[in-house]
Symmetry: C2
Subunit: 193 residues, 2 copies
């Protein structure tokens, strides 16, 4: 068994980086651990990414795409309408219950690499994209002020993620869902056709 061409090696490196960086933290994981987990040589990592910082950024960019795609898909399975608001928290509940759940990767790196402009930028971009997705969900909920609902959902989603992480309580998703339903009830007094 020979080839292990370019894209395969790169994917193995990103897989190992994601697993280790997300589980243990970026600074706690050395490049030796990544290359060992990926089964490649140190030289190969630097041929593909040039530096550990670039590998970290690539890991974050790919996770950003994957995570938002996953949430978007979970929301799309629900019928259009206010139910998609609740579907967000149902999806979060499944995520929190996964064995390797360790909070939001972008919040973690923002706290860990407080002085890394690229890490801060990637985290900010990710949260902006999440906010945009929640705005879409809020726009379909039939409330008067979509922007206000999106802002409030953002706070509930972030609060649920950090609570599930720090307190180790996966039920935070259901409490967020309940709070979102209460907010929906209080806001749908308008545009009822």
């Amino acid at each position: 068994m020979s080839p292990s061409r370019d894209p395969d090696v790169r994917r193995r490196l990103l897989d190992a980086a994601e697993r280790l960086f997300y589980e243990r933290g970026v600074q706690a994981v050395g490049v030796d651990a990544v290359v060992a987990d990926a089964g490649v040589a140190t030289k190969t990592l630097y041929a593909h990414f040039g530096s550990k910082n670039a590998l970290v950024e690539a890991y974050l960019r790919r996770r950003d795409q994957r995570w938002l795609g996953w949430l978007r898909g979970a929301v799309a399975t629900a019928e259009p309408g206010p139910g998609r608001v609740l579907a967000v928290f149902d999806a979060l509940g499944g995520w929190f219950a996964e064995p390797g759940f360790n909070g939001c990767a972008f919040v973690n790196v923002a706290g860990e690499l407080a002085h890394s402009p690229t890490a801060r930028a990637v985290a900010r971009d990710h949260k902006g994209a999440l906010r945009a997705l929640l705005h879409e969900v809020a726009a379909g909920a039939g409330v008067a002020d979509q922007a206000v609902l999106a802002d409030r959902l953002m706070l509930l989603v972030e609060g649920a993620i950090v609570t599930a992480h720090v307190e180790g309580d996966a039920q935070a998703a259901m409490r967020g869902r309940s709070a979102a339903a209460a907010l929906l009830d209080g806001m749908n007094t308008a545009v009822g056709e």
Copy 2:
């Protein structure tokens, strides 16, 4: 000028540790930087704390006490009643606008030191104490289900802190205040005397 007795040296070390660990992250700051900032010798740090891990834990314990005391005091300045719920978010708004604001120290270490049992325990304890404080606030708000309100406030507070941190948006406090007011409006249909 001579003395610099025991408690003064210890306080200087904790002050330096808090400033540096909170601003740059625990792993990014070496003990050399702490002792240089505190103006003490390396030996003195180890005479007082024994290890960097113990210094980190002492820093977190003191910050836990101080931060909760600060929030408790801010809440106490408001009239008893539902206004104390809003006072929580007013206090957060002031905190977010401070120059050195860098998110919740306990969320940061929970993400950074994912595999340190003591860091996880201190963070969990801190969030439990915050939850207890919010329960007190909710108990005075005159709603039917205090526990549910406290849970929802917890999500909004955590969400506001992480949003203000990652997105650099201090207005998250006002959006949290608005969401809390909406939740109060929807919940105070009972126990109106």
